[in-house]
């Protein structure tokens, strides 16, 4: 149900393009630096184009990152799907099926977002060892659990804004709790799922702290490999920038893919139906 472009809106491209330039400036520096040689990196010439187009940095970065790529996917996909699903169910219950004490449960869960992860590294590692969960499953578990507050928040606030009549109609038709969820809420939650999946995928993909303490060198995800491209003393920013762009590509593809589901009118459609 695409809204027709009104001619009068064309002026919007002016601010949009201006914003695009703001967003692209740092990106431009990252991209051109990725093509530069080590001796070309200099603050004075940061805006200058590289002397030649050579893919050496990208090839070097890829060879260092590729062994970790699969580890990242194996951990990020279940972590983001599961925490999104949990968040959706929690949000549904907390917004629409409140039980006694539900209003206390919401802040209880939400508070978990603010925990400074650096300060709980030790009990986290001890717990995982005690429970016998190691490597990628442990890392995925950590991302699921520490993702629950933010996914619950997003879904609860979204569901809370939906009119109660929407549910009542389905209940009249005899749908039970899960039925209402499946038939009514799930279809119109798609934009929220997109929002939450973008968050979870990005934060799990880019996480370094949990990854480095919960996994060993055989199952390090890509961020650890990316960090490790830098030495402790001399850092080759050209290779580092090339590597960061490569490491960000899967996330960008997820954005582009999920972005297609920002459809307008899903809610309107279900209201009519």
């Amino acid at each position: 149900m695409k809204v027709k472009l009104r001619l009068g809106d064309s002026w919007l491209y002016i601010p949009l393009i201006a914003m695009a330039i703001f967003y692209l400036l740092p990106m431009y520096v990252i991209i051109i630096t990725g093509f530069k040689g080590f001796e070309e990196i200099d603050l004075k010439t940061m805006w200058d184009l590289p002397k030649g187009i050579a893919f050496d940095n990208y090839i070097e970065a890829f060879s260092k990152l590729s062994p970790s790529l699969w580890n990242s996917f194996a951990m990020v996909i279940p972590a983001s799907l599961i925490s999104s699903a949990l968040g959706s169910l929690n949000g549904y219950v907390l917004a629409k099926w409140k039980f006694r004490g539900a209003d206390a449960i919401f802040p209880f869960i939400l508070f978990g977002m603010f925990i400074p992860y650096q300060s709980i590294m030790i009990p986290l590692v001890q717990f995982m060892r005690g429970a016998g969960i190691s490597g990628l499953p442990g890392l995925a578990l950590a991302h699921v659990i520490y993702g629950i507050p933010i996914t619950t928040l997003t879904f609860r606030n979204y569901y809370a804004s939906l009119p109660q009549e929407l549910l009542e109609a389905a209940k009249m038709d005899g749908a039970d709790m899960l039925g209402v969820y499946r038939l009514i809420l799930l279809p119109i939650s798609l934009p929220s799922f997109v929002v939450v999946l973008i968050w979870q995928f990005t934060s799990a993909w880019n996480d370094f702290l949990f990854a480095v303490i919960l996994t060993g060198n055989k199952d390090w995800p890509i961020t650890v490999a990316l960090n490790n491209m830098a030495g402790s003393q001399i850092i080759s920013w050209n290779v580092q920038m090339a590597g960061s762009l490569l490491a960000a590509l899967p996330t960008l593809l997820v954005y582009i893919f999920l972005g297609r589901y920002f459809l307008r009118g899903l809610l309107a459609g279900s209201l009519k139906g």
């Binding site: 001796e39 599961i82 969960i133 190691s134 499953p137 060993g216 960090n227 490790n228 001399i234």
Partner: protein, 442 residues
Amino acid sequence: MNKKLFALLSILVIASMSLAACGGGAATEAPVAAPAATEAPAAAEASVASMGGAVEVFSWWTGGGEAAGLEAMQGVFAAANPDIEFINAAVAGGAGTNARAVLATRLQAGDPPDSWQGHAGQELIGTYVAGGQIEPLNDLYEAEGWLAVMPETLIPLISQDGNIFSVPVNIHRANVLWYNPAVLEANGVEVPASMEEWFAAMDTLKAAGVIPLALGEQWTKLHLFETVLLGTLGADAYNGLWDGSTDWGSPEVKTALENYAKVLTYANSDSASLSWQDAAQLVVNGDAAFNVMGDWAEGYFRELGKAPKTDYGWAATPGSNGVFQFLSDSFVLAVGAPDPEAATAWLTIAGSKEGQEAFNPIKGSICARTDCDKALFGEYLQSAMDDWSSNVVVGSLTHGVVANDSWKTEIDTALGLFLANNAVDGFQSALVAACASSGPCK
């Protein structure tokens, strides 16, 4: 609703429903364990001992010459111990910041690697020996005859109560003044040997519109601070700061702090936004005349394609001629190492002539052993080898030799406050307090 949309929805519904089902059992791990199980093979435990065992070596050597050097040493190890698997558990992060946090967490959780990297000196002794986490290595030193080939001055710094606790692999020098020969010549400035000469030289340069001193972010200022302390106080009084025999509240220390405050006035205004690399680059580019940095800067200059003596020159920092302020990376044996024999085999290689000769030329440092082949090294490193064997040796503060971690952190915090408020008296009293709370002063 199109097909893809429907597929996505179905996946989510299935995931949600299975979760709802699991909920009854209250098994928090179940949701993850299920999908993860199929992907787990890649995550199979790495440290399971194979026939010849395995050694997990933890370091922060992940990039550039350090990683290449470690790889070369690993090659030597593999040739001597073909049955032992070498697990390189290197984690990056500015001078090992991340690595040390990960290591501390692993040690507290009772999961030590077999061997790990640490700066020789109080960083090791104050942290890991005090924590009972590493084994003495006297037997290994005797069996390998290392006492005869390592500098005498080094051994007390890596020992406690007669026990030697680590195997130093390399030596870096901290008190190096890098300069641009062309800039000095164009302004008629000689390489300064004392603080007074340095100030005079920098006055001339400043008047000529050259940045006298290139400086970077805060840790490079701590590095500069330790060289000014050394240059003002001299080696004996400098050493006394760390064993309690020099009073941090003394007028001499105050002079050093005033010198430091004065040195800072010659620095570039944008120091807070430069890394050490950016700052060092200002010198070889001719924007600045001097830079004080450890001798890993030489490896950086060479990677930039610069030539020694023409594009950059070096000297001991003003007032520290004949003194070698060192730092060293060394490896330890964990208490409760999963495979102590394999770990000992690794340490044997780390301390061997062959291992150090493989590592150091690539890393851009000199051997901790004194019998390495000079021909393997470049011009600067050869001069450093000469100094290492002939100079008075003192330790670096910034790089973990002379002060334990707690003390160093307190000094760094005091320095941060000083950089913000420029109050020499407040700085000095904070340093006195730091020595009392975490150092030997009572």
